[in-house]
Structure formats: structure tokens, C-alpha cells
Point group: C2
Chain length 423, copies 2
């Protein structure tokens, strides 16, 4: 008998009929002899509808009350799913985030989980019940107020519960059947990954793959929670996310896990900035004070004798207005000539733990982009990732070129043998 | 400066625009220098929609999860109202029932308030904030689960908060502008009462007046909370509900407070029941075990020598099926001949604390019904109430006849001088 934590969201919980299908799957898992804990997202458009209501009564809704408002969505789906399971004659019990012992910081709208005290969940399991937990929410340790965990929060709820309960696996049910070597909408011959390491998945998520949020993967990595990403519309295995040491006997690992892309970034170039110590620091302090996260940074080599240089950086396009306003307000203290803003960029990232030990990856990567006629504007790397910024209208071609160059292309029949384990 | 508890529900909170109007009224009360605590109901059709969802996933929704589901409605309106008040630049803070310290029994669906620990509300008030509380809900003392207070629960929340906070008044905002001597839809010349005693209001509520639930009035009576029932669509005074001793100097009290009616009852007659000690007890134990509340009871005088009699009683028509099934299941142990069921009855009640000291009320009451040609089927009385059961199609005529006989009719101009205080 295993302890399985499952998470359902998206179109799996779009309406009452969808909830009944989810209930049937949970009942099947339970009847197979497993202990089951479920984290669930809000149904369909509930969250959007609640946000609209907030804006109908208030131009700038306060974060604390926004959290109370939005958490109602997961409570509704949690109660309904619990009822739908009980309709099968299977004992089930519903819990809000606070009841499930999810303790967080008090940062409303994007609280972080500090601790999970799953006493009530453990009691329910011991009494033979399926436990259904409202995802995305917790209780602030400091203020005893209701908090939300931000985007992808229900995934984090599931992983945190799995960690606290020492579950055998955390199954994340989504609209797709796993993690692919690239977005199948761009690369039709992308392979489904059978397995991927935490660090690779972290880089993929941070590089624009939307399947999981980085913080959820990070949480799983820290507590060694195996994640199984799979489709709620089939029984096929999806993709397992786990540590290298969790993968049993040594095996030939693929060099490259996949290619991620991101169209949501913009580039700001600060032109004519004095090339003296401390100037860049002032610029990035200004941006940080505006609560904007920056990603890639390039500083041009100062043209000989001019004493000024240009600095470019990328940031989420949604923060563009805020960042520009902040930099413009500090124009005198930073002392630049002008700001350029460009939201027609795309970012491509090649990710693979095998880069650490295999040489020649960079050469093949840049060669493929050159052969495809892609112009590269910025570059950044980690030990398992190479990222470049291109024109957005060249991004798809760039993704396909790199995917092919690293032999990631497959036909459907080959998909299941990726990784060489035949699992 | 006063501490005012306000309760809003019904059409006052039908949608976002209605919530904004409620917010403006609360802000005005606050800006007049008062401390304000608000209990709020769910918006518009929210509760009905949630009930429909429950029945879409489950034929017989479990009570515990139903309470989690339904309480989402008041949390949504609570958060939105708090936002709408903050939009005026007035500090406000929202609280769920559990956060507000509303501790209840664990009887899901109709929990009773055991205690209110309003520490967080008091802190918010001390910090100059308006406190907005989700009505209808609490936290079970035994199970630490979310509970609901049953019909009219938000009114009870308001009164319980007013009691715990020693508020100066509990204002219940409704769709009507006060308590009337009769339902104005039946008696067009009914008077609005300026003031009514707790006990009279209790009898009115128990006799079918829908403006407040008896348990809410009972709570107010026990803790001496003055209630002001008024319209959210005007600034006019409504009706004050208070104790006799709270009404200041002695004054001439009206004999009769009003006439209530109730179309929601049915009558069960158990025919041919053995007229021996203990038989009636077995019958009513059977009904009580089915969780059905009975109201009026009539036992016919045993026809001489037959040894059998008939017992009739009234009950909520919604419990008719349940009660009949229970009695039929005990047919052998009770030993009756047959059951008759009649849901075409109406109940009329005349209520007034003045009955205690004024004679002749009964004579005038039955005389008025006789003159109007009303046939009386059952009678029950308390020291401040006379109730009769009639055919339902005679009920309106009966109400009008009694209202007129006791000089309760008025034209609109007289309404505000009722009670003789000129208040």
C-alpha cells in the first residue's frame, strides 16, 4: 500500500461533471489499496470571476481581503469533490488549507509555506478516509490570516503535503500528458520525457515551460518528493521528476532534457550610462526597489575613450511600465542618456544535466542557430543551461533548429523509449 | 460615540452595486463617529447556486462538507464589502466566522452558538477599523470544523456579536422597513410598529412572521441586545425590539402587537388510537425521533365506551413525508386505525403582551372570526398569544377580520404615532 498525494486543476475541474470524473479516478486509486490525499484547485472560471467582482467594488483591491476572496474558490471545489467521492460510498473528508495545517508567511498574494502540520490529515488517513485539501491557501503564522500561495500554488500545496506526509509520490494531473523536450505546439516531433531531474525541471520551469512553477519543483527537490506529472484524461504514465540519486542503478543519462522558450519577456536598454564603479549597482537597486525581477543582463564594452556604456536587461513584460517609471524617476542619480524598451524578444533555453560532463554542447548549440540564420542578442548560461535572446518572430524556428540538432526529434512510437531505460 | 452592529442581507447585497451602496451606508455610520461591526449574508443567488452544485455531484450531500461549501458565499461577500469600504479611504478588516470567534455546537447545518470570543474584532475596533464578519458561520468547539447556523443565521451572528461586544444596538437591515401589525401584502392598512417587546417578537416569529427567526430574537432577549429592524433603502427609523424594562419610563402599552399568519404548516390526524395512558407518548416519541417539530396538538374526547380517540397535530409541511413514514413504521406499537394528512390549513396568531392584564381579548378574537364566517379547526394559546388553525383559503379573510377588530388598521399617516410615544 502506498500513500499517494494527487493534485487536480485546470480543465480537470472545470465543472461538476469534471469533478465527478476526478472523483471516480480518486476512488479507483483508493480501491486499489492506496492511501490518498488530494489537493484541488478552483473550478473553471471561479478565480477570474472573483477577481472581476473585486475590481467591480474597488479599483485597487487590498491583498488581505483578496486572499479571503480567492480562497473561497478552492473551498467550493474541495467541498464538492469530497461530496462526489462520498457519493461512491468511499469515506472522504474535506480540509481548508488552514485546517490541513499549511502554515505560511504573511505575504498576501504570494505567501511561502513555512511548515505543514498535517495532524488532521494523518488522523483522517488513519481512519480510512480520503483527505481532500483546498489548494493554493494557508494560514499566516504571524497574523493568523488566510493567505494564498500565488501562481501554481495548488501544485505547491500538493508537494508540501507529500513532503510532510512522507508520501510515496505526488501526482500532478494536468491537461497534458507529461513534460516534453519542447512545446509540442511548436515542435510537433517533441518527445515526452519519461523522467527528468529536479534541477533540469527547475531550469525548464524558470525558462518558460509552463507545466510547473519553479517554487513547486524547488520544494520537491528540497524534500525529495518524487513528482509524477500526468494527464487526468488517460491512465498512461506521464513524466517522473526526481533526483539523480533517486533513479536507482546507474544508467546512461541523456545529455539534454529539453528546449524551453519564453515570449513573456521584454528588454530594457539603458543607453549612455557612465562607465564608473557603482553605476550599474544604482540602476539595479532602482529596479529591485520597484519589486521587478530581472533575468539576463548584458553590459557593452565601453567604447574606448567615451567613458559611457550601455546596459541591457530582460524582465517580465508585465513589469515593463513599472520598471521604466522607476528608472526614469532616478534619471539624475543614475545619469544615463536614454532608455529603450523592446517587447518583441523571445528567449530560448537548452537544458540538460549532461552539459556538466559533456563538452561540445555550446558549439553545437550556436552552430545550429547560425545555420538557421538566427540572430542572437543576449546570452546567459548556468552549468546545466544555455539561454539566448532572439527576435520573437525567429523564436519558433530557433526552437526547432536546436531541437533537431540535439537529436531530440522523434516520432510518436519512439517517445516511450526516451532515456534508454525502457520503463 | 456608540458601538453599532449592523447586519445586511437579502436584496441589500444582491450584487456588486448593492454592496457599494451598503459600503456607503457603513462609511456614513463610521464617519458619524461610531464604532461599527457588520455581519453580512451571501450575495444574491450564491447560496442557491452552491446548493445546486452540491446536488449536481451528489444525491445526498453530507452535512459537514455542505457547511464548508455554503460558508464560501458569506466569505466572498465579506471580502468584497471590506474592499468596497476601503475604497472610501476608511480602514476596514474582514473576518470569517471562526476568525471572529463564533464558537458553535457541531450540529452541521443548524449549529447553535456556544460562545463568542471577539478578541480580534475588539482589536480591530481599538485600531480604528470597521470590522466586517461573514455571517451564518462558526467553528465547532468539539471538531474544529466549519459550521453553519441554519436559516436566519446571519441575523443570529449579528445579535451574538452585539451581545459579546456590549454594543449599543444591533441594526438588522432588510428589504422592509420594520415589523408590521400584519403582513402588508394581506392587510394593506397594517401599521408599522415603532417598538415591540422581545417576547411579542418571539411569538410573532414563531407564528409565521418571517422578518426574524425566533432563535435570533431569543438570543437578543437573553443578552438584552436592542435590535433595530430597518430598511437598507431608506434612513427612516424602523422597529425597535427590546425588553419592557428597557423602554424607559412607564407608558401606556398597546394591548396587541400584531397578527401573524403561517401557510407552511400541515396537519396529521391519527384516527382510532387506543385511549389508554402512554399511547400519545409513544406517538410523539416516534415523531420526535424522526427529528420533526410539532406545533399544535388536539386530542378529541374519547367517544363514550369506544376506548379509542383521534389525535391531530400540526407540523412543518416540509416534514410531512418524514413524519408519516415514521408513524406508519410504528403502526403496530402505537395501534391506530389510519393516518390522515392535510396540507391545506392556515394558522393565525394574535400576539400582545397586554393580553396578560387585559380581559376580553379572547372573546373579541373569536367573535371577530365568527362574524367573518371563519371555521376554526384547532386552538392553542400562551399567555401573550392566541392561535387558531383554519382552512388555508379562509386565512387572509381571518387575518383582516382580526386586525380590524383590534383597531390595528391605520392609514399611512398614523403609522409613525403607533405606540403613543411620538418617537
Amino acid at each position: 500500500m502506498s500513500l499517494i498525494v494527487q493534485k487536480y486543476g485546470g480543465s480537470s475541474v472545470s465543472d461538476a461533471e469534471a469533478l465527478k470524473r476526478v472523483a471516480a479516478r480518486i476512488v479507483a486509486t483508493r480501491n486499489a489499496g492506496n492511501d490518498v490525499v488530494v489537493a484541488i484547485s478552483a473550478m473553471g472560471d471561479t478565480t477570474d470571476d472573483l477577481v472581476d467582482l473585486a475590481h467591480a467594488v474597488c479599483d485597487n483591491p487590498p491583498d488581505r481581503e483578496m486572499d479571503i476572496l480567492l480562497t473561497a474558490g478552492e473551498r467550493i471545489s474541495m467541498a464538492l469533490l469530497t461530496m462526489a467521492i462520498q457519493a461512491h460510498g468511499v469515506s472522504a473528508r474535506g480540509f481548508t488549507g488552514p485546517m490541513a495545517g499549511v502554515i505560511t508567511t504573511s505575504h498576501h498574494g504570494r505567501a511561502r509555506i513555512i511548515d505543514v502540520s498535517p495532524g488532521r490529515i494523518e488522523k483522517a488517513l488513519a481512519e480510512g478516509e480520503v483527505a481532500i485539501v483546498a489548494g493554493f491557501q494557508g494560514l499566516s503564522h504571524d497574523s493568523q490570516d488566510i493567505t494564498t500561495l500565488g501562481r501554481g500554488g495548488s501544485d505547491t500545496t500538493a508537494v508540501a503535503l507529500a513532503a510532510a506526509l512522507h508520501a510515496d509520490v505526488c501526482e500532478i494531473y494536468t491537461d497534458v500528458d507529461g513534460v516534453y523536450t519542447a512545446d509540442p505546439r511548436i515542435v510537433s516531433c517533441a518527445r515526452k520525457l519519461e523522467r527528468i531531474e529536479y534541477e533540469e525541471m527547475l531550469e525548464l520551469a524558470a525558462s518558460g515551460a509552463k507545466i510547473l512553477m519553479p517554487r513547486c519543483v524547488e520544494y520537491a527537490r528540497r524534500y525529495h518528493v518524487p513528482i509524477h506529472v500526468r494527464s487526468s484524461f488517460s491512465d498512461k504514465d506521464g513524466t517522473w521528476i526526481m533526483g539523480e540519486s533517486d533513479q536507482g542503478e546507474a544508467m546512461e543519462e541523456p545529455i539534454i532534457a529539453g528546449v524551453a522558450h519564453d515570449r513573456s519577456q521584454a528588454k530594457i536598454t539603458v543607453v549612455g550610462i557612465p562607465d564608473v564603479p557603482g553605476t550599474a549597482a544604482r540602476l539595479f537597486e532602482t529596479v529591485a526597489a520597484a519589486d521587478v525581477s530581472i533575468d539576463m543582463i548584458v553590459q557593452n564594452v565601453s567604447a574606448h575613450g567615451t567613458g559611457v556604456t550601455d546596459i541591457s536587461f530582460t524582465l517580465p513584460a508585465t513589469d515593463g511600465v513599472k520598471a521604466r517609471a522607476a528608472i526614469e524617476a532616478e534619471r539624475d542619480s543614475i545619469g544615463y542618456e536614454e532608455i529603450k524598451y523592446d517587447d518583441t524578444i523571445g528567449k530560448l533555453s537548452l537544458i540538460g544535466a549532461g552539459m556538466r560532463t559533456h563538452s561540445g554542447v555550446s558549439a553545437k548549440f550556436f552552430g545550429a542557430l547560425r545555420d538557421a540564420g538566427i540572430n542572437i542578442e543576449m546570452i546567459s548560461t548556468s552549468d546545466i543551461r544555455i539561454s539566448v535572446v532572439t527576435r520573437v518572430d525567429q523564436l519558433d524556428a530557433a526552437v526547432r533548429a536546436v531541437h533537431t540538432a540535439f537529436d531530440l526529434d522523434t516520432d510518436e512510437d519512439e517517445a516511450v523509449v526516451y532515456g534508454g531505460t525502457g520503463r
